[in-house]
């Protein structure tokens, strides 16, 4: 009886240690550039959020080399009506630049349940966040992007947590690039703080020098807007 108990304890400790070691390894490796020379192209998940978030994100997408970051999967909250429209307008404007007709299959548009609506009580938010996480898991298993671009809407947290989980268990190694919104001058957003402190974002960009001084592991990149 004692032996079984001891064995169980030992097993738990070993498993726990393996998991923690793996997590620390993932966190440390993530902050360094990819060691392999970049592949031809990377599948890219672009997380859109309401209002200024989408405008800033599309500003960034506009300057990326489209043949390197492809296919591009745009994802927005199910209650967000405008963001996917703006994204498809951007993609449509790219069609004129290349006339080989390949643009349409480079871009996909998806929706995800929101963890929390503005003004929603924090109590019900726990439940909706759980649903959002399950939905994120489901979508991420389907998409498995190599690169994720996000800039702060709550929708990005379940997606990034899922990505981190996939990295730890070895399903897919993705790089998360987080650009904090230009509206954040002195403090990080809640999403940003989470992804920074937990070292889930591989690279964290800020648009104001005050934030770079406050959070030294970030990169100051000036104003995107």
């Amino acid at each position: 009886m004692m032996m079984v108990f001891t064995f169980a304890i030992t097993l738990t400790v070993v498993v726990f240690t393996v998991i923690v070691t793996r997590i620390i390894y993932v966190m440390r490796k993530s902050s360094k550039p990819l060691s392999k020379i970049g592949s031809q192209s990377v599948s890219t998940l672009i997380v859109l959020g309401s209002g200024g978030h989408t405008a800033e994100m599309l500003n960034l997408v506009a300057v990326l080399q489209k043949d390197k970051f492809t296919p591009r999967i745009y994802i927005a909250a199910s209650t967000d009506n405008m963001s996917l429209q703006k994204a498809s307008a951007l993609e449509a404007s790219l069609v004129d630049e290349r006339d080989d007709g390949m643009i349409s299959k480079d871009a996909q548009f998806m929706q995800i349940y929101r963890s929390r609506e503005v003004g929603q009580s924090y109590l019900t938010s726990i439940w909706t966040t759980l649903i959002a996480i399950i939905h994120a898991l489901w979508l991420m298993i389907k998409i498995r992007p190599q690169v994720i671009l996000c800039n702060g809407p709550g929708t990005c947290v379940p997606l990034c947590l899922t990505t981190f989980f996939f990295k730890v268990v070895g399903i897919r190694w993705s790089s998360i690039f987080y650009v904090e919104s230009i509206a954040r001058v002195r403090r990080l957003s809640l999403s940003g703080l989470l992804l920074y402190k937990l070292r889930i974002a591989d690279q964290f960009f800020v648009q104001w020098p005050q934030l770079q001084r406050e959070y030294p592991r970030t990169h100051y990149v000036g104003c995107l807007m």
């Binding site: 970049g38 200024g52 300057v63 990326l64 080399q65 690039f177 509206a183 960009f205 104003c223």
Partner: protein, 157 residues
């Protein structure tokens, strides 16, 4: 928004328009503030003949005005700055975390725009000095793009 007086005998009514926008939000406090007789009087004093208001999702409808707009979010702010227009940003104090004010205050400190609250708007307009504003340089996403490419091992041309 400059003056344009041709000084001819046939008087042309010059239109200096104040455009107020709430973006996609609900900001009745600003609509009410702008609709007040004191502020409208001051705007007339300063040479502004028309007031255009875009109301967003607000419910307060001013009696004489066609549209109501007030600048609140980063989208409205930067669109206006890009157009080179003089801007007064009014911060919505009813929003919970009020991170909006950080951006407006920082840009005001850098003299790219003027910043006010609904209650102090009349003071800002009576002390209006738009010449002190300096243009905001256009945004540039290429630094981010370069860092991302470097991280992924892509060559940047």
């Amino acid at each position: 928004m400059g003056e344009n007086d041709d000084g001819q005998s046939k008087k042309k009514k010059t239109k200096n328009v104040v455009f107020v926008t709430v973006g996609t939000t609900y900001f009745d406090a600003l609509v009410r503030a702008v609709d007040s007789p004191e502020i409208k009087q001051q705007m007339l004093h300063k040479g502004y003949s028309d007031l255009l208001i875009q109301m967003g999702r607000g419910s307060y409808i001013p009696i004489e005005v066609t549209f109501l707009s007030c600048v609140a979010g980063s989208g409205s702010i930067f669109e206006t700055l890009r157009l080179g227009k003089s801007l007064i940003v009014v911060v919505n104090e009813d929003l919970m975390d009020n991170h909006q004010s950080e951006l407006a205050e920082e840009l005001a400190e850098q003299k790219h725009l003027l910043c006010a609250r609904p209650q102090t708007l009349h003071r800002t307009i009576s002390n209006l000095n738009l010449e002190s504003l300096i243009p905001h340089p256009p945004g540039d996403a290429t630094p981010v793009m370069k860092l991302i490419n470097k991280y992924l091992g892509f060559l940047v041309d």
